[in-house]
Amino acid sequence: MARRTKFVDSDILIIGGGFGGCGAAYESRYWGRGLKIVLVEKANIERSGAVAQGLSAINCYMGMQWGENQPDDFVRYTRGDLMGLVREDLVFDVARHVDSTVHKFEEWGLPIIKNPQTGRYLREGKWQIMIHGESYKPIIAEAARKSATEVYNRVMVTHLLLDRVRPNQVAGAVGFSVRDGSYYVFRAKAVIVAAGGGSHLYRPRSVGEGMGRTWYAPWSTASAYGLLIPTGALMTQMENRIVLARFKDGYGPVGAWFLLLKSHATNAYGEKYEESRFEEIKARVGKYADIKPMPTCLRNHAMLEEMKAGNGPIYMHTQHVLDTKEKEEVGWEDFLDMTVSQAVVWAAQNIDPKEQPSELITSEPYVMGSHATCSGAWASGPEDLAPADYQWGYNRMTTVAGLFGAGDTIGGSAHKFSAGSFTEGRLAGKAAVKYVLDLKGAPPQVDEAQVAALKEMIFRPLENYRVGRNEIVAGTVSPSYLTPLQGLQRLEKLMDEYVGGYSTFYVTSEPLLNRAMELLGMLKEDMEYLGAEDLHQLQRAWELHHRVLTAEAVTRHTLFRRETRWPGYYYRADHPQLDDAEWHVFTASQYDAQTGEWRMSKLPVHHIV
């Protein structure tokens, strides 16, 4: 079939127009005035990425101007929350710059709520500030549009390209237009991957219409990792998936309720279960149980034990804290800004939060690098902070030359959230400008044969469908192809049942993980037979490819780490204890696209604070 190919050349290519990508666009333009900067996004940057819907808080702000917190305080906090393992150089770097990002957001027009007594930003908690954030993303998108030379909306990037003769140097990316089906070849000197983390790797609790109401957006399709892994970039902490305690079904956030409104959670019998389970937690994880505030995973663990004991439903007692009109508005806006579905649940189930409590539950697991978790690429750290073995030239560059990352892409750099991801995009953007200006000799060259082969591969699901569809009368059951949804649901089921999803209370083990690898192997073979009815389904097909590759990394890393580091996120039943003697390290993997082999290793954790 004749299909148009469009070539787009740039100095810096930014993949993904969420907060990381928008930050990268802004900063790379500031430092690289004459450079061609191209931003490509599978949706529309006006409302794309994890913040598409909006947010009600900025969860990473130091307040250094008022002496509220310092970057080293933030390092101690994230290190504790992640049970000892974060890249402290990367975390410190985000923390020391994030205030300038937030001040810029306010100047641009983001309404940040002030404390009427102090005139400072209203604190939700120690690190969080409250915003009227319904239009958070459109505001940030405006800044990105004014920064990039060109923005390509509705182009799904499927693969990165490496240099024809230097196999460890990036040369661009390929993908397709979801609207007109053109094949896109982006040739670039540097690439910043700012794509999303992964929802729908695990079976969601709601599986009918409600399967779209995952906590992280359904369009966060693990492309951050699915793009990087085939390049051989070193990946880290891929086992460190996150489980969220949230309002049941709508997945409304709990932060403002716990921290600002001072609500509390109990089991069905009114007992504050976290306190009563402390000794059992201490026996599992030792000194980490004493960390204040209690790490996110351990709070999940306490809730899970209550649920297993039949002490559910778990309730958030909203009815005790909405005693003024102002507080009621804060509570509702928290959902209407960022999780309208929870307001829908309240209206549908006749729950007035002023009068009765709401159920909480733990979500299905997610794989990401920007929340209370830190999966992602192993990246070079900042020159003035990083220990020698964390530093190889350019800040936020992966182990592939010229390939940078930000937001969910970068591993070890937890608790960035929106403002921190934008900040990390800025760091990557500035470093990429420096890389491009330093680049000597001929620009990177794509491999024409590879570009042609990828074109055939990317559009093959359309052909699979066209041929297979003629073999059956109607419907979705074909002996020759799988729809992307059928493939996705096979992935979700096996990850849930074997790799620690909610149906096993997040428990897995070596035999279960080995069985998962067998089934994942067959799923990978079947991925050749995805059938796509149209370009929209072709997008779904490539999203699934990114998810499957990421799921394999998660499974391999989970197998490699023989301990239970984060009870409440997942459990290795065959290694139930936290083991600092052997596993106070980062896990790392490197995929070899030629042989299909994965090499696992340990990387050191350095404490610089």
């Binding site: 500031y30 300038s100 409600g210 957006a217 549908a348």
Partner: protein
């Protein structure tokens, strides 16, 4: 369902198709109006509801867990910098809220290229654009060499 489109209000303009982060609002080829092609990939993010000039798109909560009879309606007015919500419960109770969404005119952000060109040497410093002024502290924090030696 999550989102659905009212047959009599939709004029097929395609604003919802253009904005949907999940690419699930499409134009029906027969009726020339939009509809949600994949409700199970809808996040109920309301991007299409807010963008629809005809107010033709609404949400019926996910059938798995949302009993019928509710409405959560929204009016986003970018030019006024405001958004208003009207929530109708299954049992008929009504709540209304309004919040600001932006404090500056749309389109008013100063592009990075409108600032003075930074000094070439600054490219090698750890400083980002507008720093240290935008940090509102005297200097960018770093670690002392003694701290780095601890590793």
């Amino acid at each position: 369902m999550p989102t659905y489109t009212d047959m009599t209000r939709c004029d097929g303009c395609g604003e919802c198709v253009d904005i949907c982060p999940s690419d699930i609002m499409h134009i029906d080829p027969v009726y020339r109006r939009s509809y949600n092609i994949e409700p199970n990939f809808c996040w109920e993010c309301y991007s299409c509801v807010k963008a629809c000039p005809q107010h033709a798109i609404d949400v019926r909560g996910y059938a798995d867990f949302a009993p019928l009879g509710h409405k959560v309606r929204v009016l986003r007015e970018p030019e006024k910098g405001a958004i208003s919500w009207k929530i109708r419960y299954r049992d008929g109770r009504v709540k209304e809220f309004a919040f600001p969404i932006r404090t500056t005119p749309w389109g008013s952000i100063k592009p990075p290229s409108d600032y003075a060109v930074p000094d070439a040497a600054a490219l090698n410093s750890p400083m980002l654009a507008h720093e240290p002024e935008a940090l509102k502290i005297a200097a960018l924090p770093t670690l002392s060499p003694r701290d780095k030696e601890k590793v």
